[in-house]
Amino acid sequence: MINFTYTVWILVIPFLMFIFLGLAGHKIGPKLSGLLGTGALAVITALSYITAYYYFFATPKTAETFKAIVAANSTWLQLTDKLHIDLGVLLDPISVMMLIVVTTVSLMVHIYSTGYMKGERGYERFFAFLSLFTFSMLGLVIAPNIFQMYIFWELVGVSSYLLIGFYYEKPSAVAASKKAFIVTRFADLGFLVGILLLSFHTKTFDFITLTDPSGPAIAMAGGASFMGLSVITWSMIFVYMGGVGKSAMFPFHIWLPDAMEGPTPVSALIHAATMVVAGVYLVARMFPVYALAAPVALNVVAYVGAFSSLFAAIIACTQTDIKRVLAYSTISQIGYMMLALGVSGYGGHEGLGYMASMFHLFTHAMFKALLFLGAGAIIHAVHTNLMTEMGGLRKYLPITHLTFLIACLTIAGIPPFSGFFSKDEILAAAFNHNKFLFAVEYAVAGLTAFYMFRLYFNVFWGKETQYNHTPHEAPFSMTIPLIILALASMFTGFIPFNKLVTSNGQAFESGIEWGVAIPSVLIGLLGIGIAFIMYRKETSIPEKLAATFKYGYKWAYNKFYIDELYIFVTKKIIFRYISEPIAWFDRHIIDGTMNSIATVTQVISFRIRKFQSGQLQQYAFVFVSGVILLSVLMIYVWYW
């Protein structure tokens, strides 16, 4: 048995780096800060890969099953005899996989940022925050109990807030960071309620106990009910609400597109590859409970995922800001993962969806980070986010062009790139379980290919655009991560996930289901073909189409007016009819009470000041009187 205690360092190193860069960053200068931050990350990446190797290949399996290993654990707060909050490290297939995802993408983003952020003010601060984020995200994935996960979940939210608002002089960035924080925080309220409900009824926070098929959580499936659903179902729905917020699923998706105000490497790291999949990870972490005790909650997961993926894909077809297209594409792809979990069963081939979801999470992290970093390189070269102001860039940015093309083919699901494999598994899982959801996802696959290649053709082909100064390829520090991630996107599809990451830890047989794969490749090619016709050269087809479906287009272009709806509900209804009366009550009743307490305190303290006269005789008098009074009180008055 290998001792995994060293995995604690995976958490400690980025945390120390954050403290160090935060305190001393401005003293050691940008160059060293960047180098140190990246170096520290390289170390923990290496540690993560070693851990993954040992976990998957060098630890003997018991009964053909990957067991969860608690590598470190210490009690932090003892609430009752049974219920305690621990801090520790849990290794199981999904947490080890997430270690790889988070450290890999984070390392790429670190390297990329040394070039991308060069010369920015607050360069050291940027790296300090990146370290903080990495620390929080890693703490989240290796949490052995739901409470630690919640703590790091919030920390992730904070670091995301700090990084979206990195350009804090820009009002739009400030607004976006606030929006992201408030929306996700609101969703986290649900998560907290879920945790409290769950722990109150099961008396534990521990994941291993919670997800044990014969444990207290799953045994409660038929317990007390409210509105026809069991307590466990309710708590799982609440827990899922937190996941909906972090993973930007409908209806809490509104913060993600705005979050693109942050520096592009941040979008790649946090808002594409790692943090936003935390919701998926959460559901996967609690999956046995969903699958065995709360099928209704699991259906909620499936339908929310499916709806979000369709909804976001439609919006993505109309956006012109390249980062926003990618943001909606992220929502859509995460919807896929949620759906895959939602249609999955527990154990064996039934758990195909679970495996597919984790598989897609993995491949998506690679190619979506690649897309964002590529977009960063494009923006770096032409200083605009709008694809309408771009065109013909393939000549100027050869490496970016090639890697971006690979990423587009991957996300469109064209074999043999990784996206093909993972998406195929998802579609197969959906097909086996629910034909309606399959149809939705099938359509989304076509839309995905279309909007990605719309982006690709617009940027790299399309009309010849005159640039103020000739765009030039990004420096090596930026292109190397692109190349590495492109290689990852091409080849990670061949990783046998069905042997490694499964719902119950046991390997099962699964191959490409050609009956699903061929149509899905065909619809992908169809989407690419339409994009080719419309955007390869400058044509009038897009305008005509937009004019024909004027209202539909406008509706989608304005993101179905969800943001406006939110503003209406919050400002017009909640603020006016709920907040204002509360504010009045607070200002007049609460504050009034408090103020009068304060006044009374002040008056008394003024009255008694004479006791403190500076006269020793008086002090002695008070002292002796105190002794006498206490004695009388204790001996004659209050002696029982």
Binding site: T75, L77, T601, Q602, S605, A620, F623, V627, S631
Partner: protein
């Protein structure tokens, strides 16, 4: 016993060192003495066979006593480091070794007191811990206020010692022994014994500044040099609380109901009066003096349950309190050394000119007020939990109310530093290395004692109670 022996040796070494240094080089004694003391502090943590008795049981060594001494050592070390700048002033330069000598003598007294197994040993320790402090309070004898502080301390403390001895004589008269274990066995709770106990209680209450035996506190704290004020408010108080809790738990379990009632009354008075006075203070030292009175009230709340959790929470709180209060005092000392200003109004706009000092001060005050996530929050939480565990809900309620009041005046200082405008703010200055390192240790302590739950677990492990 090693604590006392090492300290005695160190004190003598310092005296000898003074003889062999020329007056011009007296300042180098600072480094020598602090190094010595740091070694003693570290040596205190080396595990040796801890349990045993000496002098026919008058001196007993236990795990808890060792832990308490170690905690006091940490606090004294911080205070010594914080004193360096002040000791380097010309008017103090020729009395440096006296300063260290006196501090170490007090500490020896405290250590004996904590390890006492007999009331006479306890009393000798208590006096040894008090008389040198009076000399220290009058250290700046060219200042009227400092001299006044010294004389007030010695006069009032002789009164309280008299009462305490009177109480002990009654206990001796009724039980025929002064050994702790004998007294606890023979104590019956007769009226005369309770009277003796109340007298004893008053003597201890004087040291801990419990209302109504606290009146000396403000004058002495204000007049004494700042380092001595911080010593009085943290170390003297901490040591007295340590031995008080040991004696209450081990000698007087028979009359637990009585001392619980006594504590109930006095702790409510202490918290409330301390807070009410603190609100009105303008001088930051007086302000911290009254805040430390109310802190003693909260500590009484933790003590009242008489349980293992109660003792653990008290010891833990003292540890937290050392870091928090010395953090606050460290800032006050730094500012007082650099500018001589000691009023809260002078702190207006401090954040603009000295942001780091302001942040440390804020952190320390937050910890004193008990705002999460700093250590003070956990400290208060355990104190109140210990009282609630034994059903003292009303007391906990009063304590929580008082915490709110205290938050108000702690925030007044924070407001002064961050929000209030000032035409003539304290100029931006950089403190020297010792001051900065002491502050850094305090900040680290405030966080680490809060987050590392191991510390509390260890303390709880070796505490005892009924």
């Amino acid at each position: 016993m090693r604590h006392e022996l090492l300290l005695a040796v160190a004190a003598m070494l310092i005296l000898i060192a003074e003889i062999f240094t020329s007056p011009a080089r007296r300042k180098s004694i600072n480094l020598f003495a602090i190094t010595l003391f740091a070694i003693i502090t570290i040596a205190g943590f080396i595990p040796v066979k801890p349990v045993g008795a000496l002098f026919g049981g008058m001196y007993v060594s236990t795990n808890v006593a060792t832990l308490m001494k170690n905690i006091l050592n940490i606090g004294v070390l911080l205070i010594l480091i914080q004193s360096v700048t002040w000791l380097k002033k010309d008017e103090n330069a020729d009395r440096v070794s006296e300063y260290f000598m006196l501090i170490m003598s007090t500490l020896i007294g405290m250590d004996f007191m904590i390890s006492a197994g007999h009331f006479l040993m306890f009393y000798i320790g208590l006096e040894l811990a008090t008389i040198p402090v009076a000399a220290l309070a009058a250290f700046e004898r060219y200042k009227n206020k400092s001299a006044e502080a010294g004389i007030k301390l010695i006069l009032t403390s002789s009164l309280s010692s008299g009462i305490l001895l009177y109480g002990l004589s009654m206990i001796y008269g009724t039980t025929g022994s002064l050994y702790f274990y004998e007294v606890s066995r023979l104590f019956t709770g007769s009226s005369l014994q309770i009277l003796g106990f109340i007298f004893f209680f008053a003597g201890m209450a004087f040291k801990i500044s419990i209302v109504p035996f606290h009146l000396w506190t403000a004058d002495v704290y204000e007049g004494a040099p700042v380092n001595i004020t911080s010593f009085l408010s943290v170390i003297s108080k901490g040591a007295a609380i340590f031995i008080f809790v040991i004696i209450l738990y081990s000698v007087f379990p028979v009359i637990m109901a009585t001392w619980q009632k006594t504590i109930l009354v006095t702790s409510i008075l202490t918290m409330t009066i301390g807070n009410l006075f603190a609100i009105r203070q303008q001088n930051i030292k007086r302000f911290l003096a009254f805040s430390s009175i109310s802190q003693a009230g909260y500590i009484l709340v933790g003590m009242i349950g008489g349980s293992q959790l109660g003792m653990a929470s008290v010891i833990y709180y003292i540890l937290v309190y050392i870091f928090s209060n010395l953090g606050a005092f460290g800032v006050v000392i730094a500012i007082s050394n650099a500018t001589g200003k000691e009023n809260i109004d002078d702190y207006n706009g401090l954040y603009k000119t000295n942001p780091r000092l302001s942040l440390i001060m804020t952190l320390a005050l937050f910890s004193l007020a008990g705002i999460p996530p700093v250590a003070g929050f956990f400290g208060k939480f355990f104190l109140f939990a210990a009282a609630a565990e034994k059903g003292f809900y009303f007391l906990v309620l009063v304590a929580v109310f008082n915490t709110i009041i205290s938050l108000y005046y702690y925030l007044l200082v924070v407001k002064a530093m961050f929000i209030n405008k000032n035409d003539d703010p304290i100029t931006s200055f950089r403190s020297d290395f010792p001051t900065r390192s002491a502050l850094l240790i305090c900040v680290a302590g405030i966080f680490i004692t809060g987050f590392a739950s191991v510390i509390f677990e260890v303390i709880k492990e070796i505490s005892f109670g009924n």
